[in-house]
């Protein structure tokens, strides 16, 4: 009883209210659930990956470099996000395989290649699962996986590069507008919509597109272990249904999620537990997106009162 201060005034122990104590514990437990949910939602915690060993990453819609460039209602996949998710899954030693769930018509050649490189870099088993569409750049991504499964009616292939732009010198002429060409460097204004493309410029463009297509087709051939001759037969921009693609060697198996899972389970000797890996939106992203959509409609309304025509003047090169 070292240093004990004894109080002999016979104070009773305060009355303990068990009902209140239980209420406090339950209240704090409820707050704890709410806080944990909010933090999990906005901090990217991957509660869904509890005990999972397979990561599922969606490549949905057009493949773009950034998803903040005005794709308000179109479904797009940003290569930056896709690469981040692939790298995240790759870092997790518990993840044995990565499924790329593809439903995309392709998109930017550069963005597609960024995803292709990330898929090739990973040490995990990779399986591409083409659902409705895995064409062009999206097929390029699929071909970089170890195994490709596609629905028999899916659209695949379309190996080629498109370069397009609008030309409207005739329209300018109609309105008596002159395009005054002042360039330093012969091809500096190549692709300008205000003048007709010359034969020479056309040739330059075509060579660039052919080079890109060669690189694309060459890489697909390497990925699919096909000869250059065989790939050239199919790399003509034509799309193929899943069943045709299987006969041409562009796809390994016809099927869906079951076939994908079965392949992984057999190869890795595991019972597949799939967790979706997706870029979590922060609270700021959600508010920003809502504000951007509002602004888009306001801007569209204001713009429509001045112009009744859409003029697009950018060259777009997609794979």
């Amino acid at each position: 009883m070292r240093g004990n201060k004894i109080d002999l005034s016979a104070k009773q122990e305060p009355r303990f209210r068990w009902g209140f104590a239980v209420f406090v514990v339950l209240l704090l437990l409820a707050i704890s659930f709410m806080l944990a949910g909010v933090i999990s939602l906005f901090s990217g915690f991957d509660e869904g990956s509890l005990g999972s060993n397979v990561a599922l990453i969606s490549i949905n819609g057009a493949i773009v470099g950034d998803d903040d460039s005005g794709y308000f209602f179109e479904s797009v996949t940003s290569s930056a996000d896709a690469v981040e998710m692939i790298e995240k899954a790759d870092r997790n030693p518990g993840i044995k395989a990565i499924i790329l769930e593809i439903n995309s018509p392709g998109g930017s050649a550069v963005a597609s290649e960024e995803i292709v490189n990330a898929v090739k870099k990973t040490n995990k088993t990779t399986v591409a699962w083409i659902r409705e569409m895995g064409a062009s750049g999206a097929y390029w991504v699929a071909s970089s996986a170890d195994y490709v499964v596609a629905n028999r009616m899916s659209v695949t292939g379309s190996i080629g590069v498109v370069g397009s732009y609008l030309e409207f010198p005739g329209l300018l002429e109609e309105y008596n507008v002159t395009y005054r060409r002042l360039v330093s460097g012969k091809y500096k204004d190549i692709g300008s919509p205000y003048k007709e493309m010359t034969e020479e410029e056309n040739e330059v463009f075509q060579q660039a597109l052919d080079a890109m297509r060669d690189y694309f087709a060459g890489d697909v051939a390497k990925n699919r272990k096909m000869s250059r001759k065989d790939i050239d037969k199919v790399a003509n921009g034509l799309f193929y249904l899943g069943a045709q693609a299987k006969d041409l060697g562009l796809v390994d198996e016809i099927g869906g999620k079951e076939e994908v899972t079965a392949y992984i389970e057999k190869k890795e000797g595991i019972k597949a537990e799939i967790a979706e890996y997706k870029k979590e939106k922060t609270l700021l992203d959600i508010f920003g997106e809502a504000a951007a959509k509002q602004s888009f409609f306001i801007g569209k309304g204001v713009g429509a009162s001045f112009f009744d025509r859409k003029i697009i003047s950018a060259i777009s090169i997609t794979a």
């Binding site: 009883m1 070292r2 109080d7 509660e47």
Partner: protein, 171 residues
């Protein structure tokens, strides 16, 4: 002849260190139960197949923002637990189990006193230092008081009963 002698009389004295430790552990068990949702998230996010140190390092680099939020939330909930219990009933569940309660040197126990005695749960400098300083004070003060208890002018006491046969029995 009818004598009106009370059958027992209670008095309080400074709570012993082992009992206080036991009560604190009991409270920590309850707080750990409250924190289960956070534990589930961490369990899910923890990289698998690594040593606990490697996995923790990976986790902290991948989710640094979320972990900071979680740390503050857990501290706030623990603080709330002690504050609500002690300011309303003068004791937490752990203290109740081990027959202890808080008394104020100023008479009635006030809310600010309860807040100050639980400052060690605030995860900000310099309060976080109390996690080390407080137990050290308990060891070296005669009344087993933590520094934050001295500052808040509170003590944890144990209730004893004195029966007619003269033996002191903890209530």
């Amino acid at each position: 002849m009818k004598l009106d002698i009370p059958k027992e009389r209670t008095f309080s004295a400074t709570a012993s260190l082992p009992k206080r430790i036991m009560a604190f552990l009991a409270d920590m068990l309850i707080i750990a139960t409250i924190m289960v949702p956070f534990g589930k998230i961490l369990e899910g996010a923890m990289p698998k197949g690594l040593s606990i140190i490697e996995a923790s390092m990976r986790l902290s680099s991948d989710y640094s923002g979320g972990l900071i939020l979680m740390y503050f939330s857990i501290s706030a909930l623990a603080f709330l637990y002690f504050y609500l219990m002690e300011s309303n009933m003068g004791q937490s569940i752990g203290k109740k189990i081990f027959s202890m309660h808080i008394v104020s040197d100023n008479g009635q126990l006030k809310g600010w006193q309860v807040a100050v005695r639980n400052l060690f749960l605030v995860p900000l400098f310099p309060f976080d230092l109390l996690v080390i300083v407080d137990p050290a004070f308990m060891l070296f003060t005669k009344t087993n008081q933590r520094l934050s208890e001295i500052l808040s002018r509170t003590r944890v006491v144990q209730t004893y009963s004195l029966d007619l046969y003269g033996s002191n029995l903890p209530v």
